[in-house]
Point group: C2
Chain length 328, copies 2
């Protein structure tokens, strides 16, 4: 950590625990006040940051591996949506009162394993101790590169484009229920260790006209794409890709599809692309082993109608009382 | 904010409040998931981050202007120490329960004014709501540039170098006492709105062999320079530059110098440079209106003696029970 060199042994412990994941050149072995990085000529640096609060973005009783997995996954998701190749990250920790040596050791191991999954070294950060009774808070800033001018933006959707989503929608919501109820299910792993389609996202450069990661909830996030590009979307509700668990969840109560559309935390990619991209996208999905689903298309709209409309099997507009994530 | 587009009006408010300080090109008007930046060819990017917790790094009752001033000042201080020119920043906010619209509006105005002081646009960030009863937490990541290979590092001190410090030492400590006791004094402004010697720091490129900012406490921070370079320092305690308030503080009780040496929060620069740099440093100090003081010199040391030794006027080693910042 750039500022881990405080007085207490705890900060020495943290420096020791995280040193194996540091890039010695950029991070100066985590022993300077700053990291120093030179992007290759012809590349843009893509920068994003997400913070997670204990009791808000992960359960108070979350395991250290879950905290690490959600922190890295939610941040990598932003780089995936922008088509970027990860090059480094900064970690800020406000330690909770219950973050003892065992917790920190397991957190560092889980964090480091996820960094290695994405070939993303640690550049530095800052560590502070929360006050007594205060919750832990963790934030990551992630850095990636793209060839100059090729970052996939949020605001590029064109009328007539197709609308796609990767993976399954709703497993973030279902996994959160497992985490809160301490029940089991395949979606729990999706919630605890989100693994965004990074290679697929990088392949979207030059194919997608706009993209974001599904973090707030598919409905709310598609609304964001619409608002940014001043368009609307017409989508088939029945096309929304669900896991077996998701299918079972709505089998008895079809209206519960709303929970999955508004649940958030999926860390999949939602994007738009012209019809000419359909064949290359299909190949890319095959090469990167990603489930790819076309949901519908981009339409023109009046200024107060920039939103995603889901159509049910009766041809009726699906009314969603909620469209995005509610913090628990 | 890259993720301010949540559900509630509060996040819309935040986006509106901070938009005037955003760089539209890099930050994509704060409406994308990421910022996109291309350093000029031949430049390195210097990256640092500091987080502040309410009740730890600023008093629970701190004004919004004090929170903003300390956040920007403590981060700019790291860029100053590295000789970097600020180019942008990311702001992460975990809102406290008492951060109502009036507080947020004043915070944004104070934050924006400080960004404009340093010509540093906002690139994005993330905003979350702390849980009920939880303290506010703010963190900034700052980005600067230096001509390739010229970043002033922490580990370059050479035996025989002179040791310097800018400004006054101890006003951070004295200002903190004012903030806690709600008393008045010139040092309160130094604590509330630290203004690190940025232009002076940029002038240190090619002159200083090592540098850091005085944030933990002058004694502890000089120890860091020693440890990084495997050297010791021999310094005159009577040379430590004090404000009139600092001089008054030790006038009756000379032993209280320890409070000023270990107090931290000064956000001045401590650095080493060869004798050949003395004249250019003196010119640089004059041009940038910085008080510059030579404290002593760098010496060789055994491996267990890498630390800064202050000598009193009797020629005795000053024994410091504390060498760095204690969180309040």
């Amino acid at each position: 950590m750039t500022k881990a060199s405080k007085n207490s042994g705890e900060f020495d412990l943290i420096e020791r625990l995280f040193a194996p994941y540091a890039d010695p050149d950029t991070a100066l072995n985590l022993r300077d006040d700053a990291a120093c990085y030179t992007p290759q000529a012809g590349y843009d640096l893509v920068i994003s940051t997400d913070m997670l609060v204990s009791g808000v973005h992960f359960p108070l009783a979350a395991s250290p591996e879950m905290v690490a997995g959600r922190l890295v996954g939610s941040n990598i998701s932003d780089l995936a949506a922008k088509g970027a190749v990860p090059v480094g990250c900064l970690l800020n920790l406000a330690l909770g009162a219950d973050w003892d040596e065992a917790f920190l050791t397991a957190f560092a191991a889980g964090f480091g394993a996820r960094l290695q999954d994405y070939n993303m070294p640690l550049w530095g950060g800052d560590t502070v101790q929360s006050q007594r009774g205060q919750n832990a808070m963790v934030s990551l800033s992630v850095y990636g590169v793209v060839p100059q001018g090729t970052m996939v933006r949020r605001d590029g959707a064109q009328i007539g484009d197709d609308v796609y989503v990767t993976g399954n929608i709703g497993d973030g919501f279902l996994g959160l229920q497992h985490a809160l109820n301490q029940s089991q299910g395949e979606s729990l792993a999706t919630f605890a260790q989100p693994d965004p389609p990074l290679a697929f996202g990088q392949g979207l450069r030059g194919l997608a006209t706009s993209c974001l990661d599904v973090s707030d909830g598919l409905a709310a996030d598609l609304d964001h794409l619409c608002a940014a590009a001043h368009v609307a979307m017409r989508l088939e509700a029945s096309a929304v890709p669900l896991s077996k668990e998701g299918q079972a969840y709505i089998a008895q109560r079809p209206a519960q599809l709303m929970d999955l559309l508004a649940g958030g935390d999926d860390y999949q990619l939602a994007f738009t692309a012209p019809a000419s991209a359909a064949a290359p996208l299909s190949r890319l999905a095959g090469e990167t082993a990603v489930r790819l689903t076309r949901l519908g298309c981009v339409e023109s709209a009046a200024a107060d109608q920039y939103r995603a409309v889901f159509i049910d099997q009766m041809g009726e507009n699906l009314v969603l009382e909620r469209r995005g994530f509610q913090h628990f």
